[in-house]
Symmetry: C2
Subunit: 381 residues, 2 copies
């Protein structure tokens, strides 16, 4: 397969490039370095300095003798994206090229506007590039479980049949998100669903939960290949942050009551899921939706797990409950279905003490890089 | 009340300015002339040349001795919009400043991108201007019945309670539109609903059907005050187009089987509805949704009505069924609820033969302006 990875420099983008490359596929990666630049501007750079994308591709080639083609450019520039499609005619395009942070999208009007424009125009450009150049190309788009919010009914995998006044029909599962970023992912889904119906595109939408982890089979071969790892309030996901906080004795910052429950997954599971979706593609005219999570935890449960493992390793881990800076339910019903990817062959990696110890081990090596001020800034909404 | 009308030069914008002004309110109108410029570029200008907005405001002042303040600028420019809010602190903002054409949004990638950016950034800017300058300002946004599409269940007014596996919750009514333009209106709703929940804004979303008509009490006072009237495929609505076609002997262009059923309303009803919504505003933290239609017709029924009245007036009216250039259901269930605005006091103006005769009368006067080539271009999707 010829695989175009958009957002190839990201936390998931680069490990995805390596994974497909190792499995024998031709990989083309593109990125505009948005996340690097934004993290630099906001003083919240990744824990471990990662070589730039062209350098990482060179290192990968030295390590495994496989080539990943890299193009630096902006997917919201339609001509740039078209040039990639015309040059490579990809079989599958994996769309990570979105502004991925809820707090970033809530910082101010300009960052909200950027999030809308970046996320929707990148998706629109992919739709048009596929239609104009490679109509059979399979689009894999990363959505988020956050699109569903926390409804008081069971969360199905993307779709729901509604019975109403004696008649019935099937619809996208109701979506109601808790940040502007998550709202743009709902808007993305609407956009793709319209063009799937209209032009017969083939699309897989992966409704992913927060990802944790730093180790992948490929990254473990050379530390310069490690994914970029954020532990800050803007770009860090909760478990990655808690590990860093535990190591430097910064009390784990639970927002409000901590009953907020979400589905989580290991970065290794993300790679498996995306690979399974790519090798068993959606049909033309199909918007296939999977809930991409491996297990659910409340924030309190995550904090407790980190505390227990941290103590075992000799860290003095404290938990603190902060006034919730976000407008979200702190206690709620949460029962998402996630069987689709298991049926495709996913073998989940659960959050064991061993996995946590592994994360502690890697972060410990880089603890001198930790910027305490990046951990909590209280972006409010 | 101090009323800010965005998109004040439009088919609905200008009559809205006059209506609120005559009723004794202070009106501020803003427009960037997008529609005039696009219609010029696409050779589909309005039937009746209308003076520019500043000129129309001058004429209005001569006719009725009331002042409407006009500002020419772009609502997607946040500084421009903020300057209006800071200068006037409106009690209500009426948001018509969107790219309103489905065929326009489907012409090519650049027009799709423009539609997304214009419609979502204008809405975002209004949200931020209200939050930053006038938190109590009531936002009235024009949505469209097209957001709902043609589901196989009854269409409620914006919301639906879903029972699922023994639990229940209330959600936005499922939305699934049939053009990119209509999809941006869904995205608009998602955007506003997020910020209503998060910041307690007060919003009324008017899910309007296609509007017809050219006569309003104010426009009838001086023909230079007439709304801009489009009969072309890009900016014209179906009934307005059919009247023009009937007058020049151009067979009425029914797409496909013609069973496509929609809710319609007279432009006079739009004015009533917006006024009723403004004078009985939504509460803080409320997204109030009304289905803004007066009655439903299939395209075949509209064509038959125009044919009958046209014949009575001496026109030789033919109906033709074209291969449908659009991807839409030509026969479907359609049962929308629309009682909310009636409860607020709407007195609907139904589509009588007399109303149609009035439209024939006005268009007849301007028939030498009709550009046959603008009527059908077959924008396909």
């Amino acid at each position: 397969m010829r695989v175009l990875v958009l957002g190839a420099d990201g936390y998931l983008g680069w490990p995805t490039c390596m994974y497909f490359s190792r499995m024998g596929h031709e990989v083309i990666g593109a990125d505009n370095y948005f996340r690097r630049n934004a993290a630099l501007a906001l003083d919240c750079e990744a824990l471990i300095p990662t070589p730039n994308l062209l350098q990482r591709a060179k290192i990968w080639q030295q390590v495994i003798e496989k080539k990943i083609a890299i193009h630096i450019g902006d997917v919201t520039n339609h001509e740039f994206l078209l040039s990639l499609f015309r040059a490579y005619h990809p079989d599958v395009v994996i769309h990570y090229a979105e502004q991925p942070s809820a707090p970033y999208s809530m910082l101010d009007r300009d960052k909200a506007a950027f999030t809308i424009q970046n996320n929707l125009l990148s998706t629109l450009n992919i739709v048009y590039a596929v239609k104009e150049v490679s109509p059979d190309c399979h689009i894999i788009k990363l959505g988020t479980m956050g699109e569903y919010g926390t409804p008081n009914i069971d969360i199905e995998e993307g779709w729901i049949q509604i019975q109403h006044k004696g008649k019935k029909d099937t619809f996208l599962f109701p979506r109601q998100a808790s940040s502007l970023y998550h709202t743009t992912k709902i808007q993305d889904t609407d956009l793709l669903w319209f063009y799937v119906r209209t032009w017969g595109l083939r699309v897989t939408d992966l409704m992913q939960g927060p990802v944790y982890g730093i180790s992948t089979d490929d990254a473990d071969m050379d530390e310069r290949l490690i994914p970029n790892f954020h532990y800050d309030e803007i770009f860090g996901t909760v478990l990655n942050r808690f590990i860093v906080q535990a190591i430097i004795g910064y009390p784990l910052t639970v927002y409000g009551k901590g009953g907020q429950t979400r589905g989580y997954l290991n970065i290794k599971d993300t790679l498996q899921c995306v690979y399974l979706a790519a090798t068993q593609p959606a049909k033309p005219g199909e918007l296939r939706i999977f809930n991409q999570i491996s297990e659910s935890f409340s924030v309190n449960e995550l904090a407790e797990k980190v505390k227990i493992v941290g103590k075992k390793l000799g860290y003095d881990v404290k938990i603190t409950h902060l006034e919730n800076p976000r407008n979200e339910k702190e206690e709620h019903y949460y029962n998402p279905k996630y069987t689709g990817l298991l049926k495709l062959g996913l073998q989940p990696q659960y959050l064991t003490d061993g996995v946590l110890e592994g994360m502690f081990g890697i972060v410990e090596k880089y603890k001198n890089n930790i910027n305490r001020d990046a951990i909590f800034r209280g972006v409010k909404w």
